[in-house]
Assembly symmetry: C2
Homo-oligomer: 269 residues x 2
Protein backbone atom coordinates (compact mmCIF):
# COMPACT_ATOMS: atom_id res chain seq x y z
CA UNK A 1 0.00 0.00 0.00
CA UNK A 2 1.49 3.32 -1.02
CA UNK A 3 -0.16 6.55 0.09
CA UNK A 4 -3.82 6.81 0.89
CA UNK A 5 -5.75 6.66 4.12
CA UNK A 6 -6.79 3.50 5.96
CA UNK A 7 -9.14 3.22 8.94
CA UNK A 8 -8.58 0.26 11.24
CA UNK A 9 -11.00 -0.83 13.92
CA UNK A 10 -9.77 -2.90 16.82
CA UNK A 11 -13.01 -4.52 17.98
CA UNK A 12 -14.05 -4.40 21.61
CA UNK A 13 -14.54 -8.17 21.59
CA UNK A 14 -10.89 -8.61 20.57
CA UNK A 15 -9.12 -6.17 22.89
CA UNK A 16 -11.25 -6.95 25.95
CA UNK A 17 -13.01 -9.95 27.40
CA UNK A 18 -16.56 -8.75 26.85
CA UNK A 19 -17.91 -11.05 29.54
CA UNK A 20 -15.64 -9.74 32.31
CA UNK A 21 -16.02 -6.08 33.34
CA UNK A 22 -12.93 -3.90 32.81
CA UNK A 23 -10.77 -6.74 31.48
CA UNK A 24 -8.42 -5.93 28.63
CA UNK A 25 -6.32 -8.49 26.76
CA UNK A 26 -2.86 -7.00 27.08
CA UNK A 27 -0.88 -9.60 25.16
CA UNK A 28 -3.22 -9.39 22.19
CA UNK A 29 -3.23 -5.57 22.27
CA UNK A 30 0.57 -5.57 22.33
CA UNK A 31 0.80 -7.89 19.35
CA UNK A 32 -1.80 -5.91 17.37
CA UNK A 33 0.16 -2.72 18.04
CA UNK A 34 3.28 -4.47 16.72
CA UNK A 35 1.46 -5.74 13.61
CA UNK A 36 0.24 -2.22 12.88
CA UNK A 37 3.69 -0.74 13.29
CA UNK A 38 5.35 -3.50 11.26
CA UNK A 39 3.06 -2.90 8.26
CA UNK A 40 3.05 0.88 8.64
CA UNK A 41 6.70 1.75 9.32
CA UNK A 42 7.95 1.43 5.73
CA UNK A 43 4.73 2.56 4.05
CA UNK A 44 3.41 6.03 3.49
CA UNK A 45 -0.31 5.50 4.01
CA UNK A 46 -2.04 7.49 6.70
CA UNK A 47 -3.78 5.58 9.42
CA UNK A 48 -6.70 6.28 11.73
CA UNK A 49 -7.30 3.70 14.42
CA UNK A 50 -10.60 3.28 16.20
CA UNK A 51 -11.22 0.82 18.97
CA UNK A 52 -14.32 -0.56 20.60
CA UNK A 53 -14.92 -0.30 24.30
CA UNK A 54 -15.81 -3.90 25.03
CA UNK A 55 -16.19 -4.62 28.71
CA UNK A 56 -14.87 -1.18 29.72
CA UNK A 57 -17.56 1.39 28.82
CA UNK A 58 -20.21 -1.25 28.17
CA UNK A 59 -20.28 -2.07 31.88
CA UNK A 60 -21.47 1.38 33.11
CA UNK A 61 -23.31 2.00 29.80
CA UNK A 62 -25.41 -1.11 30.42
CA UNK A 63 -26.03 -0.20 34.04
CA UNK A 64 -27.07 3.41 33.31
CA UNK A 65 -28.71 2.63 29.96
CA UNK A 66 -26.68 5.44 28.43
CA UNK A 67 -27.77 4.62 24.87
CA UNK A 68 -31.33 5.62 25.81
CA UNK A 69 -30.31 9.17 26.77
CA UNK A 70 -31.17 10.99 29.98
CA UNK A 71 -33.81 8.73 31.49
CA UNK A 72 -33.40 9.42 35.21
CA UNK A 73 -31.47 11.18 37.97
CA UNK A 74 -28.50 8.86 37.61
CA UNK A 75 -28.11 9.24 33.84
CA UNK A 76 -25.70 12.16 34.11
CA UNK A 77 -23.42 10.22 36.44
CA UNK A 78 -23.60 7.44 33.86
CA UNK A 79 -22.19 9.77 31.17
CA UNK A 80 -19.20 10.58 33.38
CA UNK A 81 -18.56 6.92 34.23
CA UNK A 82 -18.87 5.70 30.62
CA UNK A 83 -16.45 8.38 29.46
CA UNK A 84 -13.99 7.50 32.20
CA UNK A 85 -14.12 3.79 31.36
CA UNK A 86 -13.75 4.35 27.60
CA UNK A 87 -10.88 6.75 28.15
CA UNK A 88 -9.06 4.41 30.52
CA UNK A 89 -9.10 1.69 27.87
CA UNK A 90 -7.96 4.23 25.28
CA UNK A 91 -4.91 5.08 27.40
CA UNK A 92 -3.97 1.39 27.44
CA UNK A 93 -4.30 1.06 23.66
CA UNK A 94 -2.36 4.28 23.01
CA UNK A 95 0.41 3.27 25.38
CA UNK A 96 0.95 -0.05 23.54
CA UNK A 97 0.93 1.73 20.18
CA UNK A 98 3.51 4.24 21.43
CA UNK A 99 5.61 1.41 22.81
CA UNK A 100 5.46 -0.36 19.44
CA UNK A 101 6.71 2.80 17.71
CA UNK A 102 3.54 4.42 16.37
CA UNK A 103 3.05 8.15 16.89
CA UNK A 104 -0.38 7.49 18.33
CA UNK A 105 -2.53 10.39 19.49
CA UNK A 106 -5.92 10.10 21.22
CA UNK A 107 -9.04 11.64 19.78
CA UNK A 108 -11.73 11.72 22.46
CA UNK A 109 -15.18 11.81 20.78
CA UNK A 110 -17.13 12.85 23.91
CA UNK A 111 -15.17 16.07 24.25
CA UNK A 112 -15.06 17.02 20.57
CA UNK A 113 -18.39 16.33 18.87
CA UNK A 114 -22.14 16.78 19.17
CA UNK A 115 -24.67 14.07 18.38
CA UNK A 116 -28.37 14.24 17.67
CA UNK A 117 -30.45 11.15 18.46
CA UNK A 118 -27.33 9.00 18.37
CA UNK A 119 -25.93 10.31 15.07
CA UNK A 120 -22.93 12.62 14.89
CA UNK A 121 -24.08 15.99 13.54
CA UNK A 122 -21.23 18.35 14.35
CA UNK A 123 -17.51 17.63 14.62
CA UNK A 124 -14.78 19.99 13.44
CA UNK A 125 -12.19 17.72 11.83
CA UNK A 126 -9.55 20.44 11.38
CA UNK A 127 -7.68 18.98 14.37
CA UNK A 128 -7.59 15.45 12.91
CA UNK A 129 -6.52 16.83 9.52
CA UNK A 130 -3.55 18.56 11.20
CA UNK A 131 -2.67 15.31 12.98
CA UNK A 132 -2.67 13.37 9.69
CA UNK A 133 -0.63 16.06 7.98
CA UNK A 134 2.07 15.64 10.63
CA UNK A 135 2.08 11.85 10.27
CA UNK A 136 0.44 11.25 13.62
CA UNK A 137 -1.93 8.29 14.01
CA UNK A 138 -5.24 9.45 15.53
CA UNK A 139 -6.70 6.84 17.87
CA UNK A 140 -10.40 7.32 18.42
CA UNK A 141 -12.87 5.00 20.12
CA UNK A 142 -16.37 4.01 21.02
CA UNK A 143 -17.50 6.53 23.62
CA UNK A 144 -20.43 8.33 25.18
CA UNK A 145 -21.64 11.26 23.08
CA UNK A 146 -23.24 14.51 24.16
CA UNK A 147 -26.57 14.53 22.36
CA UNK A 148 -28.57 17.67 21.66
CA UNK A 149 -31.85 15.75 21.53
CA UNK A 150 -31.71 13.02 24.17
CA UNK A 151 -28.84 14.34 26.30
CA UNK A 152 -26.44 11.46 25.74
CA UNK A 153 -25.92 8.48 23.49
CA UNK A 154 -23.45 5.71 22.78
CA UNK A 155 -21.21 6.26 19.78
CA UNK A 156 -19.90 3.07 18.23
CA UNK A 157 -16.59 3.04 16.37
CA UNK A 158 -18.62 2.33 13.20
CA UNK A 159 -20.72 5.48 13.68
CA UNK A 160 -17.51 7.46 14.24
CA UNK A 161 -15.81 5.89 11.20
CA UNK A 162 -18.85 6.68 9.02
CA UNK A 163 -18.72 10.36 9.97
CA UNK A 164 -14.96 10.48 9.42
CA UNK A 165 -15.24 8.56 6.13
CA UNK A 166 -17.78 11.02 4.70
CA UNK A 167 -15.35 13.87 5.31
CA UNK A 168 -11.89 12.30 4.99
CA UNK A 169 -12.59 9.80 2.16
CA UNK A 170 -10.44 6.85 3.22
CA UNK A 171 -9.34 4.21 0.70
CA UNK A 172 -10.04 1.26 2.97
CA UNK A 173 -11.79 0.50 6.23
CA UNK A 174 -10.68 -2.60 8.10
CA UNK A 175 -13.07 -3.80 10.79
CA UNK A 176 -11.19 -6.15 13.10
CA UNK A 177 -13.36 -8.58 15.06
CA UNK A 178 -12.95 -12.01 16.64
CA UNK A 179 -14.78 -13.87 13.87
CA UNK A 180 -13.37 -14.70 10.44
CA UNK A 181 -15.84 -12.47 8.62
CA UNK A 182 -19.57 -12.07 8.24
CA UNK A 183 -21.50 -15.36 8.37
CA UNK A 184 -24.93 -16.58 7.50
CA UNK A 185 -25.85 -17.43 11.09
CA UNK A 186 -23.61 -17.26 14.16
CA UNK A 187 -20.29 -19.07 13.62
CA UNK A 188 -19.76 -19.24 17.39
CA UNK A 189 -22.92 -21.33 17.81
CA UNK A 190 -23.27 -23.00 14.44
CA UNK A 191 -20.29 -24.85 12.92
CA UNK A 192 -21.95 -25.04 9.54
CA UNK A 193 -22.54 -21.29 9.27
CA UNK A 194 -21.23 -20.09 5.89
CA UNK A 195 -18.85 -17.15 5.52
CA UNK A 196 -19.99 -14.55 3.00
CA UNK A 197 -17.06 -13.40 0.79
CA UNK A 198 -18.51 -10.12 -0.48
CA UNK A 199 -21.51 -8.06 0.59
CA UNK A 200 -22.84 -5.30 -1.63
CA UNK A 201 -26.08 -3.36 -1.35
CA UNK A 202 -27.32 -5.64 -4.15
CA UNK A 203 -26.85 -9.04 -2.50
CA UNK A 204 -27.43 -7.68 1.01
CA UNK A 205 -31.22 -7.78 0.68
CA UNK A 206 -31.05 -11.57 0.68
CA UNK A 207 -28.45 -11.80 3.43
CA UNK A 208 -29.11 -9.28 6.16
CA UNK A 209 -31.79 -11.30 8.00
CA UNK A 210 -29.42 -14.29 8.15
CA UNK A 211 -26.67 -12.51 10.07
CA UNK A 212 -26.09 -13.63 13.67
CA UNK A 213 -25.22 -11.46 16.67
CA UNK A 214 -21.84 -11.07 18.39
CA UNK A 215 -21.35 -12.76 21.77
CA UNK A 216 -21.39 -10.92 25.10
CA UNK A 217 -22.65 -7.55 26.21
CA UNK A 218 -22.78 -4.93 23.45
CA UNK A 219 -24.82 -1.77 23.72
CA UNK A 220 -23.65 -0.74 20.26
CA UNK A 221 -25.36 -3.66 18.49
CA UNK A 222 -24.06 -6.91 17.06
CA UNK A 223 -22.74 -7.87 13.62
CA UNK A 224 -26.07 -7.17 11.91
CA UNK A 225 -25.95 -3.53 13.00
CA UNK A 226 -22.30 -3.23 11.94
CA UNK A 227 -23.01 -4.59 8.46
CA UNK A 228 -26.06 -2.38 8.02
CA UNK A 229 -24.02 0.68 9.05
CA UNK A 230 -21.21 -0.20 6.62
CA UNK A 231 -23.71 -0.81 3.80
CA UNK A 232 -25.20 2.62 4.39
CA UNK A 233 -21.69 4.00 4.24
CA UNK A 234 -20.61 2.33 0.96
CA UNK A 235 -23.81 3.54 -0.67
CA UNK A 236 -22.69 7.06 0.13
CA UNK A 237 -18.87 6.90 0.00
CA UNK A 238 -16.97 4.67 -2.42
CA UNK A 239 -14.75 2.86 0.08
CA UNK A 240 -13.80 -0.80 0.40
CA UNK A 241 -14.53 -2.23 3.84
CA UNK A 242 -13.41 -5.60 5.15
CA UNK A 243 -14.51 -7.42 8.28
CA UNK A 244 -11.84 -9.85 9.45
CA UNK A 245 -10.52 -11.76 12.42
CA UNK A 246 -7.66 -9.81 13.94
CA UNK A 247 -7.51 -12.13 16.94
CA UNK A 248 -5.65 -14.51 14.61
CA UNK A 249 -1.98 -13.65 14.68
CA UNK A 250 -0.77 -11.92 11.50
CA UNK A 251 -4.14 -11.28 9.87
CA UNK A 252 -4.19 -7.53 10.53
CA UNK A 253 -0.61 -7.17 9.32
CA UNK A 254 -1.37 -9.04 6.06
CA UNK A 255 -4.47 -6.91 5.44
CA UNK A 256 -2.55 -3.70 6.09
CA UNK A 257 0.18 -4.84 3.72
CA UNK A 258 -2.44 -5.01 0.97
CA UNK A 259 -3.99 -8.48 1.03
CA UNK A 260 -7.71 -8.52 0.24
CA UNK A 261 -10.48 -11.01 0.96
CA UNK A 262 -9.14 -12.64 4.14
CA UNK A 263 -12.51 -11.87 5.71
CA UNK A 264 -15.71 -10.44 4.26
CA UNK A 265 -15.50 -7.48 1.94
CA UNK A 266 -18.27 -4.90 1.99
CA UNK A 267 -18.26 -2.53 -0.94
CA UNK A 268 -20.51 -0.69 -3.33
CA UNK A 269 -20.42 -3.18 -6.22
CA UNK B 1 -22.63 31.31 45.64
CA UNK B 2 -25.92 30.75 43.89
CA UNK B 3 -25.99 30.14 40.15
CA UNK B 4 -23.32 31.38 37.82
CA UNK B 5 -20.25 29.78 36.36
CA UNK B 6 -16.88 29.40 38.08
CA UNK B 7 -13.61 28.24 36.55
CA UNK B 8 -11.13 26.59 38.91
CA UNK B 9 -7.53 25.88 38.06
CA UNK B 10 -5.65 23.22 39.95
CA UNK B 11 -2.06 24.29 39.34
CA UNK B 12 0.52 21.83 38.08
CA UNK B 13 2.84 22.80 40.94
CA UNK B 14 0.15 21.77 43.43
CA UNK B 15 -1.05 18.47 42.01
CA UNK B 16 2.42 17.23 40.98
CA UNK B 17 5.94 17.52 42.27
CA UNK B 18 7.33 19.64 39.46
CA UNK B 19 10.86 18.58 40.20
CA UNK B 20 10.20 14.83 39.89
CA UNK B 21 9.05 13.51 36.48
CA UNK B 22 5.58 11.90 36.44
CA UNK B 23 4.98 12.38 40.15
CA UNK B 24 1.47 13.31 41.24
CA UNK B 25 0.45 14.21 44.80
CA UNK B 26 -2.41 11.81 45.37
CA UNK B 27 -3.35 12.83 48.91
CA UNK B 28 -3.54 16.50 47.96
CA UNK B 29 -5.54 15.71 44.79
CA UNK B 30 -7.98 13.62 46.83
CA UNK B 31 -8.48 16.41 49.37
CA UNK B 32 -8.93 19.07 46.65
CA UNK B 33 -11.55 16.88 44.99
CA UNK B 34 -13.34 16.62 48.33
CA UNK B 35 -13.16 20.39 48.90
CA UNK B 36 -14.66 20.99 45.46
CA UNK B 37 -17.47 18.53 46.04
CA UNK B 38 -18.16 19.84 49.54
CA UNK B 39 -18.62 23.43 48.30
CA UNK B 40 -20.43 22.40 45.14
CA UNK B 41 -22.91 19.75 46.27
CA UNK B 42 -25.45 22.11 47.84
CA UNK B 43 -24.87 25.01 45.43
CA UNK B 44 -26.18 25.50 41.96
CA UNK B 45 -23.22 27.15 40.28
CA UNK B 46 -21.70 25.49 37.25
CA UNK B 47 -18.08 24.54 37.42
CA UNK B 48 -15.31 24.07 34.88
CA UNK B 49 -12.09 22.65 36.25
CA UNK B 50 -8.74 23.02 34.50
CA UNK B 51 -5.54 21.51 35.74
CA UNK B 52 -1.92 22.08 34.94
CA UNK B 53 0.34 19.31 33.79
CA UNK B 54 3.25 19.83 36.16
CA UNK B 55 5.86 17.13 35.92
CA UNK B 56 3.71 14.94 33.66
CA UNK B 57 3.59 16.66 30.22
CA UNK B 58 6.38 19.10 31.07
CA UNK B 59 8.86 16.24 31.10
CA UNK B 60 8.46 15.21 27.41
CA UNK B 61 7.54 18.81 26.45
CA UNK B 62 10.89 20.00 27.78
CA UNK B 63 12.79 17.17 26.08
CA UNK B 64 11.12 17.66 22.67
CA UNK B 65 10.78 21.46 22.97
CA UNK B 66 7.13 21.10 22.01
CA UNK B 67 6.35 24.77 22.69
CA UNK B 68 8.65 25.70 19.78
CA UNK B 69 6.60 23.73 17.25
CA UNK B 70 7.92 21.20 14.75
CA UNK B 71 11.66 21.78 14.94
CA UNK B 72 13.05 18.37 13.97
CA UNK B 73 12.35 14.73 13.11
CA UNK B 74 11.47 13.88 16.69
CA UNK B 75 8.97 16.72 17.21
CA UNK B 76 5.98 14.66 16.05
CA UNK B 77 6.80 11.88 18.50
CA UNK B 78 7.01 14.62 21.13
CA UNK B 79 3.41 15.66 20.40
CA UNK B 80 2.22 12.09 20.99
CA UNK B 81 4.21 11.72 24.22
CA UNK B 82 3.13 15.08 25.65
CA UNK B 83 -0.52 14.27 24.94
CA UNK B 84 -0.17 10.85 26.54
CA UNK B 85 1.45 12.29 29.68
CA UNK B 86 -1.12 15.09 30.03
CA UNK B 87 -3.96 12.67 29.52
CA UNK B 88 -2.63 10.18 32.05
CA UNK B 89 -2.57 12.89 34.71
CA UNK B 90 -6.07 13.95 33.65
CA UNK B 91 -7.37 10.42 34.26
CA UNK B 92 -5.97 10.55 37.80
CA UNK B 93 -7.63 13.92 38.52
CA UNK B 94 -10.96 12.82 37.02
CA UNK B 95 -10.94 9.56 38.96
CA UNK B 96 -10.51 11.42 42.29
CA UNK B 97 -13.27 13.88 41.36
CA UNK B 98 -15.61 11.00 40.47
CA UNK B 99 -14.71 9.27 43.72
CA UNK B 100 -15.49 12.45 45.66
CA UNK B 101 -18.92 12.63 44.03
CA UNK B 102 -18.47 15.12 41.19
CA UNK B 103 -19.85 14.25 37.76
CA UNK B 104 -16.49 15.02 36.21
CA UNK B 105 -16.02 14.67 32.46
CA UNK B 106 -12.74 15.11 30.59
CA UNK B 107 -12.30 17.68 27.86
CA UNK B 108 -9.14 16.88 25.90
CA UNK B 109 -7.87 20.08 24.23
CA UNK B 110 -5.47 18.36 21.82
CA UNK B 111 -8.27 16.44 20.15
CA UNK B 112 -10.84 19.24 20.05
CA UNK B 113 -9.23 22.54 19.08
CA UNK B 114 -6.87 24.22 16.65
CA UNK B 115 -4.20 26.73 17.64
CA UNK B 116 -2.29 29.27 15.62
CA UNK B 117 1.14 30.29 16.91
CA UNK B 118 0.21 29.09 20.38
CA UNK B 119 -3.18 30.83 20.59
CA UNK B 120 -6.45 28.93 20.34
CA UNK B 121 -8.23 30.06 17.17
CA UNK B 122 -10.92 27.43 16.64
CA UNK B 123 -12.81 25.35 19.19
CA UNK B 124 -16.47 24.43 18.92
CA UNK B 125 -17.82 24.80 22.46
CA UNK B 126 -21.23 23.25 21.71
CA UNK B 127 -20.05 20.05 23.42
CA UNK B 128 -19.01 21.86 26.63
CA UNK B 129 -22.27 23.83 26.64
CA UNK B 130 -24.21 20.54 26.53
CA UNK B 131 -22.08 19.20 29.40
CA UNK B 132 -22.83 22.27 31.54
CA UNK B 133 -26.52 22.10 30.72
CA UNK B 134 -26.61 18.54 32.08
CA UNK B 135 -24.78 19.55 35.27
CA UNK B 136 -21.58 17.77 34.33
CA UNK B 137 -18.25 19.26 35.41
CA UNK B 138 -15.89 19.57 32.42
CA UNK B 139 -12.29 18.89 33.40
CA UNK B 140 -9.85 20.33 30.91
CA UNK B 141 -6.08 20.66 31.21
CA UNK B 142 -2.78 21.98 29.98
CA UNK B 143 -2.01 19.97 26.87
CA UNK B 144 -0.23 19.91 23.55
CA UNK B 145 -2.13 21.76 20.83
CA UNK B 146 -2.25 21.10 17.09
CA UNK B 147 -1.08 24.37 15.56
CA UNK B 148 -1.84 25.43 12.02
CA UNK B 149 1.25 27.66 11.85
CA UNK B 150 4.05 25.91 13.74
CA UNK B 151 2.64 22.38 13.86
CA UNK B 152 2.32 22.09 17.61
CA UNK B 153 2.35 24.22 20.73
CA UNK B 154 1.85 23.99 24.46
CA UNK B 155 -1.52 25.17 25.71
CA UNK B 156 -1.51 26.35 29.31
CA UNK B 157 -4.64 26.10 31.44
CA UNK B 158 -4.66 29.93 31.44
CA UNK B 159 -4.72 30.08 27.62
CA UNK B 160 -7.56 27.54 27.64
CA UNK B 161 -9.46 29.43 30.36
CA UNK B 162 -9.10 32.71 28.43
CA UNK B 163 -10.65 31.19 25.31
CA UNK B 164 -13.44 29.59 27.33
CA UNK B 165 -14.02 32.82 29.30
CA UNK B 166 -14.47 34.91 26.15
CA UNK B 167 -17.23 32.57 25.02
CA UNK B 168 -18.79 31.27 28.23
CA UNK B 169 -18.54 34.45 30.39
CA UNK B 170 -17.79 32.97 33.80
CA UNK B 171 -18.46 34.95 37.01
CA UNK B 172 -15.18 34.01 38.66
CA UNK B 173 -11.89 32.39 37.82
CA UNK B 174 -9.94 30.84 40.67
CA UNK B 175 -6.29 30.12 39.91
CA UNK B 176 -5.01 27.64 42.48
CA UNK B 177 -1.24 27.64 42.98
CA UNK B 178 1.19 26.75 45.77
CA UNK B 179 1.87 30.35 46.78
CA UNK B 180 -0.46 32.58 48.79
CA UNK B 181 -1.01 35.01 45.95
CA UNK B 182 0.99 37.24 43.66
CA UNK B 183 4.05 38.79 45.31
CA UNK B 184 6.46 41.57 44.60
CA UNK B 185 9.45 39.24 44.19
CA UNK B 186 9.58 35.48 44.78
CA UNK B 187 8.08 34.47 48.15
CA UNK B 188 9.86 31.10 47.97
CA UNK B 189 13.24 32.83 47.92
CA UNK B 190 12.55 36.13 49.69
CA UNK B 191 10.77 36.13 53.07
CA UNK B 192 10.11 39.84 52.88
CA UNK B 193 8.38 39.68 49.51
CA UNK B 194 5.05 41.53 49.77
CA UNK B 195 1.74 40.03 48.69
CA UNK B 196 -0.27 42.22 46.34
CA UNK B 197 -3.98 42.26 47.33
CA UNK B 198 -5.47 43.49 44.06
CA UNK B 199 -4.04 43.83 40.57
CA UNK B 200 -5.85 45.86 37.93
CA UNK B 201 -4.62 47.01 34.53
CA UNK B 202 -4.11 50.41 36.21
CA UNK B 203 -1.70 49.41 38.99
CA UNK B 204 -0.16 46.57 36.97
CA UNK B 205 2.17 48.88 35.05
CA UNK B 206 4.10 49.51 38.27
CA UNK B 207 4.01 45.88 39.41
CA UNK B 208 4.57 43.52 36.53
CA UNK B 209 8.38 43.79 36.43
CA UNK B 210 8.52 43.00 40.16
CA UNK B 211 6.83 39.60 39.87
CA UNK B 212 8.97 36.53 40.56
CA UNK B 213 8.87 33.18 38.73
CA UNK B 214 7.38 29.91 39.94
CA UNK B 215 9.76 27.15 41.05
CA UNK B 216 10.63 24.09 38.95
CA UNK B 217 10.26 23.24 35.30
CA UNK B 218 7.46 25.09 33.53
CA UNK B 219 7.24 25.34 29.75
CA UNK B 220 4.06 27.40 30.11
CA UNK B 221 5.78 30.30 31.87
CA UNK B 222 5.90 31.38 35.49
CA UNK B 223 3.72 33.72 37.58
CA UNK B 224 4.56 36.78 35.48
CA UNK B 225 3.12 35.13 32.35
CA UNK B 226 0.03 34.01 34.26
CA UNK B 227 -0.67 37.52 35.58
CA UNK B 228 -0.10 39.10 32.17
CA UNK B 229 -2.51 36.58 30.59
CA UNK B 230 -5.18 37.25 33.24
CA UNK B 231 -4.77 41.02 32.86
CA UNK B 232 -5.31 40.71 29.12
CA UNK B 233 -8.41 38.69 29.90
CA UNK B 234 -9.98 41.13 32.40
CA UNK B 235 -9.45 43.95 29.96
CA UNK B 236 -11.63 42.04 27.52
CA UNK B 237 -14.08 40.14 29.75
CA UNK B 238 -15.43 41.53 33.01
CA UNK B 239 -14.55 38.62 35.29
CA UNK B 240 -13.04 38.51 38.76
CA UNK B 241 -9.93 36.33 38.99
CA UNK B 242 -8.15 35.28 42.15
CA UNK B 243 -4.76 33.63 42.53
CA UNK B 244 -4.58 31.69 45.79
CA UNK B 245 -2.80 28.88 47.58
CA UNK B 246 -4.88 25.73 47.27
CA UNK B 247 -2.11 23.61 48.77
CA UNK B 248 -3.31 24.98 52.13
CA UNK B 249 -6.12 22.80 53.38
CA UNK B 250 -9.55 24.45 53.15
CA UNK B 251 -8.58 27.49 51.05
CA UNK B 252 -10.21 26.28 47.83
CA UNK B 253 -13.37 25.29 49.68
CA UNK B 254 -13.64 28.73 51.34
CA UNK B 255 -13.10 30.50 48.03
CA UNK B 256 -15.71 28.35 46.30
CA UNK B 257 -18.16 29.06 49.11
CA UNK B 258 -17.86 32.75 48.27
CA UNK B 259 -14.96 34.18 50.31
CA UNK B 260 -12.93 36.83 48.46
CA UNK B 261 -9.43 38.17 48.90
CA UNK B 262 -7.72 35.13 50.43
CA UNK B 263 -5.08 35.49 47.73
CA UNK B 264 -4.55 38.15 45.06
CA UNK B 265 -7.53 39.39 43.10
CA UNK B 266 -7.08 40.36 39.46
CA UNK B 267 -9.94 42.33 38.01
CA UNK B 268 -10.75 45.17 35.69
CA UNK B 269 -11.07 47.95 38.28
Amino acid sequence: VVGGLIFVKLGGSVITDKKKPFTERRRLIKSLAEEIYSSHRHSDFNLIIGHGGGSYPHTPAGRYQTHKGIVGDESTLGIALVQDAASRLNRIIVSYLLEAGEKAISVQPSSALVASNGRIVSWDLATIRLMLKLGLVPVTYGDVGLDQVKGCCILSTEEIFCYLARHLKPDRIIIGTDVDGVYEGDPKKDKDAKKIPIITPKNAVNLIHLLGGAGGLDVTGGMRTKVATLLDLVREVDVECEVLNIARRGVLEKALKGERGIGTIIRRE
